[in-house]
Every structure is written in C-alpha cells, then in structure tokens.
Amino acid sequence: MSEDRLHVLFVDRDCPSRGRSVAWLEAAGVHVTTADDGISAWTAVRRERPDVVIAEILIDGLDGLALCRALRSDAAADGVRVLIVSVLAARARAAECGADGFLRKPLAEPALIAAVADVVGGLRVAS
C-alpha cells in the first residue's frame, strides 16, 4: 500500500464480531481489508502485502493454522506478521505454526489493539 498506515488483513467468516473488530482497528487508524476463507486470504496476502494477517482457525478452505504455515513457507509473504484469533484454545498450536501471537475469542477492543501493536513492535498504532 502506498499509504503510511498499518495494513491488516482480517480473515474470518462475515459475522458481527468481525465487523466490530474491523471497526475497532479502523478507529485506531489501521487500514483493514477482509477475507472470508483461507484460500482467498492466501491470494489476498500475495496481492495486498498486508503488514499483519489476523486469522480465525475455523474458516473454510484452509484453516487459520494451515494458512499461517502456508504463509511462513511462502517467500512472497516474508515479513508478514500473523495473529491467530479463535474461539478454540490454540495458543501452543499457533506458536508452533509460526504465528506471532494468539488471542482467545471473544475479542475485546483493548486486547486486540494491544496484540496488533505487540506483533508489529508497537509501531504506527494509535492507542
């Protein structure tokens, strides 16, 4: 992206909680795009080169953990940070597949903003 704002790709089913999370991130000055499933997320990463991918595990196509592994082995996604969010308890599995962070759902605004700031090293996020 040409702009200087942080770019987050949010991967989850299109549900109200995704809408809320996107709104919180946008309020914090983040540019947010979305994908509904793992496969379209993977192509979106290659196309958009986001700074951060936030992915739920229970998504169609490629699950969030598999998406993270795919991104980690893809040179085109080099440097992209991955934050796994899920209703499932998956902290250890998220770490194993190379994710930079994990948040258990339901998400709360401060925790989400803090986690995104944490994976990008606190840069460019208005708190």
Binding site: R13, C15, P16, S17, I57, L58, I59, D60, G61, L62, D63, L65, A66, V87, L88, A89, A90, R91, A92, R93, R104, K105, P106
Partner: protein, 371 residues
C-alpha cells in the same frame, strides 16, 4: 503414559478397521477421562452450519448449530461450564468440524498445563478426523461397487432385446441393404456392450472378495489358442497372429475363461503392438506347470505403468489409447482368472525384447478356487 496409551488404543482401533462410531466413542471417552469433562464432536457444512456427530453431553439439544458469534457461549452451555478446550477437525486440509471438551473448574487453559491439554485434544481431534475420513472413503467405494453391480445386471435384459431384434432383422432376407448394414452395426455394438457388462459383473464379483467361479473341463491349450486366434483374425484382418504349440498340452481348466484371458492378451497386443510385426501366442510346459505367452513388438510399457497395469481402471486412465474399447478391466479380470486357476499372470517389457504377457498355471485348476 496414560495419554500415550489412550492414543495407542484409538490408533489400534483405527488400523483394525473398527466401525467409525466405535472409534469416535472411544475418542470421546478418552477425551473425557484425560481432560476431565464432557466432550462433543461437531461437523460443519460449507455454510457454517454445525451438526452433532457424537457427544457425551447431558443435553445434546443445547449444542451449537452454527459457527457464529454465539459459538463460544453455546459450547460453554452444552459442556456445562464456560471453561472448555476445542480443536478443529481437519479432514484433507479443510476444517470439517470441531472437537470440544469441557474443563473442570480451576484449570485455565493458559496455564502451563493448558498447553499440554491443548496438544492432547489436538491429537484426539486428529484421530477422530482420520476415522471420519476413512468412513467417507469406505462409503464411496461401497456405493461405487453397488452401482456398478446394478448397472451390470439391469442393462443385460434390455440389451438382450436389442440383440434379438437385430437378429430378427438380419434373418429377414428381404430387407434393404442399408437396413441390413445398420442392423448389423446395432448387433455388433450391442455385443460389445454385452462384453463390457460381462467385465463389470466379473469385476464386482472379484471385488467382493469372491474368486471367479470356474467350470473346469479336460481341454487342450493349443485348441483354445487356435479358436481364439481364429476369431481375432476375423476381427483384425490386417494383423499377423501366429500360434506356436508343438504338442498337445492337456489339463483341466475352465475353457471359456482361459479363452477370455487369451482373447484379452492377444487383442491388447494387436492394439498396442507394432502393426508391422507378428504377434505370437506360444504354449509350453515349465516343470509341472503350463504356460501361455503372448508376445508383441512395439514400444515397451513404461516401468511405472507396469507396476499398476493389472489394477482396475488403469488403462482407461492412460492417455493415447487409440480409442480402444477397453475399460481398463481386461487385465485385472485376466489376472483374477489366473488366480482362480491357482496360477499367475505376469508381464515383461523392454526395448529389445518387446512385450510378453505370461499366464502360468498348474495342469489342474484347484477344486476350490484360490484367491
């Protein structure tokens, strides 16, 4: 050690081919014992709807019915407490459901112990996924074979009527030449369909684990070879077919079945061999056994293909087969016939020597078929 034992017990059931419901029940029981709560296995459809596949919960009607924002609350509800662990059920790379287990109060899953529980749950979810995947494969295979059986059986009667009607037209000497030509086309096409149905019937029988039934009688291999080559010379007037059989080789075999093998091997040789060079069918003895070889020149069969050549439907999957009427079942059935006779069917193929199929069998077909 308890946990490894539990996983090993489930793995053993899986490899022993236990019914999917039994494997899932075992997965749920161990999950409950090891993680201390009730368990539920939910399958998801493409639109995110969830159905309960197996559960040890007190009230399955409270189970979540969709992957949505209420999922966590509904899972906590059905598992009798807000603390639960859940893992995705991933089949063939895609999320097909989730496996959730309630946690006794006071075991937060972010504790060091939580990692351990998470891995255990993940391993159990994988075992459940394997059982489900295998069950769906088994069901697909069963369905396909039943369908083939029904098709093979039910098409036979209408086909018989077609052949008979064409016979009647051909027997009427007053018909126009054009009608006669068409009737004879109908007849030969219908006969070819009949042969395909025969193959399907043989295939479904062999797949069900039954040896093909034999009607052994005293016969001479050379006689069978002559009869088969005679028919093939009519069908392929341009091919050169030679029989090498110096002395009578007499034994007790199913004459029609052996003729079926030779017809299959020799017509393959005509279709795939070098049309400029002869095809030879040779009979001989090797110790107590007898052997018939069918040899042709031409491009050798690639080694990769040789390995799977006798598997059903292989030939059909190979490109460039000059529109041959083959279904890829001929060699599979030929080998089954060899086995039913207590014998073998093998292939050798190379650049210099060409391709040789060899049927080797005892002089007497076993009384009870050997698989």
């Amino acid at each position: 050690v308890t946990e490894v034992r539990a996983l090993a017990a489930i793995g053993r059931q899986l490899t022993a081919g236990a019914a999917v419901d039994d494997v899932l029940a075992l997965v749920l029981r161990h999950a409950g014992e090891l993680l201390g709560g009730r368990a539920i296995l939910l399958l998801s459809s493409d639109d995110g709807a969830l159905t309960t596949r197996a559960a040890t919960v007190s009230d399955p009607s409270r189970a979540p019915t969709a992957i949505d924002d209420d999922l966590a609350a509904r899972l906590g509800d059905v598992l009798d407490g807000p603390g639960f662990l859940a893992a995705p059920v991933v089949i063939a790379g895609a999320v097909r459901g989730l496996f959730a287990v309630g946690r006794a109060a006071g075991t937060p899953d972010d504790e060091p112990d939580g990692d351990h529980a998470e891995w255990l749950l993940s391993a159990l979810a994988d075992q459940a996924a394997l059982a489900l995947e295998r069950a769906s494969l088994d069901e697909g295979t069963r369905l396909r074979e039943r369908l083939l059986g029904i098709v093979g059986h039910d098409l036979r009667n209408p086909l018989g009527a077609i052949v008979m009607a064409a016979d009647v037209v051909l027997r009427d000497h007053g018909v126009e030449p054009e009608v006669e030509r068409l009737a004879s086309r109908v007849q030969s096409s219908a006969r070819r369909m009949g042969r395909i149905l025969d193959q399907l019937a043989d295939f479904t029988q062999a797949r069900r684990g039954n040896a093909l039934p034999l009607v052994p009688e005293l016969c001479d291999l050379g006689d069978i070879g002559r009869e088969v080559l005679g028919e093939l010379r009519t069908a392929y007037p341009d091919a050169t077919l030679a029989l090498v059989c110096d002395a009578p080789i007499v034994g007790e075999w199913d004459r029609a079945r052996i003729a079926q093998v030779l017809t299959n091997l020799a017509s393959n040789a005509v279709q795939h061999g070098d049309s400029e060079r002869p095809i030879s069918v040779s009979c001989g003895t090797v110790g107590d056994a007898v052997t018939v070889t069918v040899h042709n020149h031409g491009a050798p069969i690639p080694r990769d293909l040789q390995r799977v050549l006798f598997d059903p439907f292989q030939r059909a999957a190979q490109a460039g087969l000059h529109g041959s009427p083959s279904f890829g079942l001929g060699l599979y059935i030929s080998r089954e016939i060899a086995h039913a006779h207590g014998g073998t069917l093998a292939v050798r193929s190379s650049d210099d020597a060409g391709t040789v199929f060899a049927l080797t069998m005892p002089r007497r077909a076993p009384a009870s078929p050997v698989l």
